[in-house]
Symmetry: C2
Subunit: 136 residues, 2 copies
């Protein structure tokens, strides 16, 4: 039970894009270098974000990744779901029927976390970054 490193990479990449370059194409190499990951691996992760519609990629020289138009509303939850999938964190696959009390509690708990993450927008965070000049 841990968030994967891939999620960490995705979150940091998105925060960087939102805070530093909302409209420019940034090459995977540059993005990977900041986080000490191999470019090919990061590319795999970012492909998921592309499929989720948050960013778009341009191939060829001077290519790279760029935010899509509607990036203002992207939340932490969006990114996490894109990387980790949307499946429930807990499944009681016994045959108690669908109303396993434990399952209900766990799903509730998960919802608590998710609503928090849903309300945390990347753009809010980016504003904080700019104000306090924190390095990414």
């Amino acid at each position: 039970m841990k968030f994967s490193k891939a999620t960490n990479y995705a979150l940091h990449t998105m925060l960087f894009l939102v805070a530093a370059a909302p409209d420019k194409h940034i090459g995977v190499q540059q993005l990977a270098e900041r986080q000490s990951v191999s470019p090919t691996y990061l590319s795999k992760i970012l492909t998921k974000l592309v499929k989720a519609g948050m960013i778009e990629s341009a191939s060829g020289a001077n290519g790279g990744y760029r935010l899509k138009r509607s990036w203002e509303d992207i939340s932490f939850l969006d990114i996490i779901h894109a990387i980790e999938g949307t499946a429930s964190l807990f499944d009681c696959d016994f045959n108690h029927g669908p109303d396993c009390l434990i399952q209900l509690v766990m799903v509730e708990a998960e919802d608590e976390m998710e609503t928090y993450l849903k309300n945390k927008k990347m753009s809010d965070l980016a504003r904080t970054v700019k104000l306090s000049k924190i390095s990414l």
Copy 2:
């Protein structure tokens, strides 16, 4: 990012003990049979709960597991922590210094879930079970 099956087994076992037999020793075989797990594997899981001080084991004939005296206050979180460990779900192990904004958000989100789970006591759930006669 998923809760392990072991957590599921642990939660169900605890709920069963609290709801059905708060003071008797129950053999691992019987507990394992209910959940279609091998007894040796379940025993490994329950050992963790023993070390966490929630239940105690008695060896020998008619042995088994039994709740400890102070079982009234056991929460979901206690059990989950005993099985999954108490480490944070997310760690940004870059060298941004300790105040990585993303890390802060994720820890906050985790706290949301944990406080919910901390307030869900097993004994509350057991009461519901008895009232509604739901099968475990």
